[in-house]
Amino acid sequence: MTESVVTTSSLPFADAVPGAVLDADQWGIIVNPDKLVELAQYLRDHEGFDYLSSLTAVDYLGFKDRTADDRFEIVYHLFDTKKGGDGIVLKVRLPESKPEVDSLVKVYPGADLQEREAYDLYGIKFKGHPRLRRILLWEGFHGHPMRKDWKEPYYEAEHKPYKSRWPVGHYQWAEDRVPWGDNINYPKGFDPDAFEPAPLPMPIIHEPPEGSDHIHTERIVVNMGPQHPSTHGVFRMIVALDGETIVGLEPEVGYLHRNHEKLGERNTWLGNIPFTDRLDYLSSMSNNFGYVLAVEKLLGDKGKPPERAEYLRVIMAEFTRIVNHMWAIGFLLNDLGAFFTPALYAIEERELILDLFEAAAGSRMMCNYMRFGGVVRDVDEDWLRKARDIVFNRLDRKVDEFDEYLTGNEILMARCVGVGLLSAEDAIALSACGPMLRASGVPYDLRRARPYSIYDRFEFDVVTDDGCDVYARYKVRLGEIRQSIRILKQALDQIPEGPIMNGKPAYVTRVQKGEAYGAVEGPKGELGFYVVSDGSDNPWRYHVRAPSYINLNTLEHMTIGYKVADSVVILGAIDIVLGETDR
């Protein structure tokens, strides 16, 4: 986000921690790996950068001007939840021979899952991390797939488009190419018969406080999932139970892992847009939005969308938020045991909104609607009339119905009030985002904190709630639907006529060399895309800051001490979509 030119001398905190800041450029501050924790502590305590938004690694093998001594780069995006505005980017450069850096878990507990991801995919060791294990891949996986020298089975070429498709593209079925021939790597001396899978990871046990009226029973460990109706997909919670009380919980993800980011690096810039649809498949419009914003930062003036396109983007993104929150509320009822009938009633209006998406974009869920510098297709008067009809005549009524039947419902309240407490400090520290953060009373919404697109023109409130529990999360979502309707009403009234695309649509995107972090306030929270370009037709690095994944940081913290049945509700209230969690 630091688009302005920064030098070491212009940094107010350059001398606060002696020897910490090595260098700075327009894309970030290069930090001495040994002083990283100290500097982060200082930034958090004295400069207000209390929120670690994104943490990721980049492999610069073969990049211009890079050597083995600075092959890896760990990139930290820090933000201020009180003041908002652009954050700062810290970078640590690590040599190929010793990719090790101190863990930031003690300063920002939210670094937990993200550091594990970087360890898993890049093999970066974070010293001091309490459970540095693979997370998306399985223990025993050979190599670290995001490294540039790692090749997948069926590897064809470094970048798309592949040469074999045209002009001599005789079809070849992928499965016919011998998959176990020269296309796969076994570790040296690997013997499949002698292979022992790693032992099951055991959750860290949190003993109940002394003196509580607690009957000690036998500890058992239960696997909830991956095939479990309450886990919203293939997600596993390894739960340590004392009676019915949870004393330890370990989230296990990665069952849907397909290395979206590696696919993104193989793909062209444009080709990634439909892939982002598949992240959080309930809110593909928001995913498109985040990605095009990130790339448009690199495109400069070429990427500036015209007015009408901006309005269309906002309209689609807000419709998406409504759809997503309807699902979240509907599924919350599902998790409470009211199986599916209420959930289907809750998503009735979603049907009409998806019809709108289908008419505009061509698909109900995999919209693929936005392009760099605009949107793909204009909407006609008939579409706008339908959209207005839904927004002005139907949606308010639906939210009132939710409010009337659910907000005061005794079953809902009995199951949700006071369950899954997460204080504001913890929510910020654990990098929770979106409704999770706002339901803990932190008024942090990117549409206000760092306004993007044309959100600064609309009147809306940032919905917060001080309840800090599942019930508060439900109320925040309900409130956000109302605010989205408010934005939609303004946007549908103001939408101007005009072009929808900056320049002619082109299938080759010329992106200048550089880096950008573009983030939107997606329905589930801060959805960020960190892209690095080396000036070619494909991204050098494409990282997704997935809110569903990072919000899982809070799960263990929230469930300890509650009953096992509550864990289902608490997980449901985080509102994860496994397509995005596992990427």
């Binding site: 798309k160 488009p161 002009p167 079809y171 439909p274 009211a338 289907l344 005549n393 119905e401 039947y405």
Partner: protein
């Protein structure tokens, strides 16, 4: 009061049941009694003011698809001339994110490329229905089909469509995309008119090079006019049968198991 929430909840169910019937009776054509009957089933609309039931009884009932709906790509050929619109330029294959389009460009005896595909495959098991191929095709040769019923018993070769299976006449496209078709035809006509006007002007201006150009242009339509029968026959004789305009029961290329 204890139990109030349950009664309220049951009230919702009751209201939905009642609303479904009232909505159905009030609507003309009614959802069930007067839905649009087509050979493919009943087509249903979901107007924004509909109340009650939101689910439909697929496959007896189907939703009416919007024009922009996209599923798997199809290749267009001109009905009058029988000529493929595709020139094997390869843009669709290059822009395809999952790289599921395979094209073999045709060659003459001397090994020179001819702008038409001799083979064209789309692996529908890999296609992600993004629509980029249709969006960036400069010749309007590839468009997104609306037929989503393409289940087969095998992925290979059942879901790998070759050129015959992908080819549909332009009239089929015109029936699926009436407004896009009208716009494209208007643009084409305008372009042709402009070209014709420019051709006349160029002829009048004189100069060896400029004279040659209009001569070529006039030659081209002439070739087109007498070409279809002969060139079609030698280029791809087996296609003639397969390219008969599809009837109503199987409007889509490939995979249709009806």
């Amino acid at each position: 009061m204890f139990g109030k929430g349950i009664i309220k909840g049951l009230g919702i169910t009751l209201r939905h049941t009642a609303a479904t019937f009232i909505d159905d009776m009030a609507r003309v054509p009614s959802r069930y009694t007067n839905a649009i009957e087509t050979p493919q089933g009943k087509l249903l609309r979901q107007p924004p003011d509909s109340k009650g039931l939101f689910t439909i009884q697929y496959p007896e009932e189907k939703r009416e698809l919007p024009e922009n709906f996209r599923y798997i790509p199809m290749l267009l050929y001109d009905e009058k001339t029988g000529k493929d619109r595709c020139t094997a330029c390869g843009i669709c294959a290059k822009v395809c994110p999952p790289q599921c389009i395979w094209i073999v460009r045709d060659m003459n005896e001397q090994g020179k490329p001819i702008p038409r595909p001799s083979e064209f495959y789309i692996d529908a098991s890999i296609c992600m229905s993004c629509g980029f191929c249709a969006e960036f095709c400069p010749f309007d040769a590839i468009k997104m089909n609306h037929d989503y019923e393409m289940a087969t018993y095998d992925r290979f070769p059942g879901l790998v469509f070759d050129k015959e299976e992908l080819s549909v006449p332009t009239s089929y496209y015109a029936s699926l995309y009436p407004s896009a078709w009208a716009a494209e035809e208007a643009a084409r006509a305008a372009k042709a008119a402009k070209k014709a006007a420019r051709g006349k002007k160029g002829g009048g201006a004189g100069g060896a090079r400029r004279k040659a150009a209009p001569a070529k242009r006039t030659a081209a339509p002439a070739r087109k006019a007498d070409a279809p029968a002969s060139s079609k026959a030698e280029a791809a004789p087996p296609q003639d049968e397969s390219k008969a305009p599809p009837d109503a029961s199987s409007p889509a290329p490939g995979g249709s198991q009806s």
